[in-house]
Symmetry: C2
DNA sequence: GACGCTCTGTGAACAGCGTTCAAAATACCG
DNA sequence: CGGTATTTTGAACGCTGTTCACAGAGCGTC
């Protein structure tokens, strides 16, 4: 009848995810988790070092699912024979936007989560997940025939990802009018269109002395 | 000897700004403010409804200063006779990046600040400040001779701003290696270069049926 | 000066939070 | 079954934001 330690951890994470989605980071409370999981507060701390670790674990689950969603979208396009780079990038962006819209409460918590701890400065599992997301975008860029070496393509992928990310988060920080979703998508379309056109015409890396910071 | 109500409010805000910059949102504590301002906790609540209002006021001061910094940068370029749009946009972006770097602690707090309250849905002073920032960017875009009407130019300004914003925040969420600042700037340069080139070649608004979300 | 009135400043008190840890309960094993 | 190791527990600690009954300061009037 008793749940495995691992099973109970997943139960806690499932509860935590709901709590985060309903009320943001401030709604993640040890006593609430314990009550809903049918255990005591102390047991929660037996499974996780602190609430930060719970929050981190939920975030990693979300990032992982987002990556899977993006890959699935790419596979769908492949199956349909779509090879146009702009279409594929837009599909990736759409997957991202939809994912954020599907997690209105917990996504801000993912972004605001400050994982600055005394932990080793080296890359951890969190960074690995983010890198995986970047790699998906870089893979799509590779299909396009821009004159980019690996290093520059990686930079372009991060830039593109971060830009979409910024558009989505800026849009969601603003007042949540229903037309907001429409404008977010318009901005993403503009960005992707301009980005692809700019890369095609060598707009990137075409200057060397403008840096002043 | 006693300070005016307004003066004391500003003193509180100055203290709050330091606290936020030193330790983020979690470091903004009523008792600390009261102690450093030489008043009691109750008096803090006499000046501000709650800590959220203090945080909001600090954020608005920062946004206001950021706008002033951007305008000053534009004025500098004007004085030097620089009219190139790409240069001007890069200068704006540089102002933004430098401002964020100058406020490493409080800027994440600005971004993470969730101003979702039961307040009226209409635009408030917070939105007005953000709009002012957008308008500055839109003004720069107006100088460039792209075929954009006011509406599309405003959209492009928001897109550009949000993208830079995303690059900066993504970079700062990542591990704070010192080389991070360098990559942030590389991404900004790439984005601006591609953006301008893309607009010149009509990459924006050149598609109508790709929307699928 | 003394009174009444208003208004502001005060800080003890309250509810709630994350987290700990001695003790109780349970599980395991010879 | 006895003894030991492990897990679970929840009261307790220190901290938080916020409140509110009260003390005191200012002020016009008699």
């Amino acid at each position: 009848m008793a749940l495995d330690k691992e099973e109970m951890s997943e139960k806690v994470l499932a509860i935590a995810e709901v709590l985060l989605n309903e009320g943001g980071a401030g709604n993640l409370k040890a006593r609430t988790i314990a009550e809903q999981a049918g255990i005591s507060v102390g047991s929660v701390y037996n499974l996780f070092a602190d609430l930060d670790e719970v929050h981190r674990a939920v975030n990693m689950r979300l990032l992982d699912r987002l990556g899977a969603t993006g890959l699935a979208a790419m596979a769908d396009l492949e199956r349909q024979g779509v090879t146009d780079v702009q279409h594929r990038i837009l599909a990736m962006a759409a997957a991202y936007v939809q994912f954020v819209e599907a997690h209105p409460g917990s996504w801000p918590a993912v972004l605001a989560f400050n994982r600055r701890r005394a932990t080793r400065p080296g890359p951890d599992a969190y960074d690995a997940l983010l890198d995986a997301l970047f790699d998906i975008v870089a893979g799509v860029l590779k299909a396009g025939d821009f004159g980019l070496d690996d290093k520059r393509r990686a930079l372009a992928a991060r830039t593109l990802w971060s830009s979409v990310h910024g558009i989505v988060t800026s849009g969601y920080v603003a007042n949540s009018d229903s037309r907001q979703a429409e404008e977010i998508w318009q901005q993403v379309e503009l960005l992707v269109g301009v980005f692809v056109k700019g890369l095609e015409h060598g707009g990137a890396f075409a200057h060397a002395e403008t840096k002043s910071a």
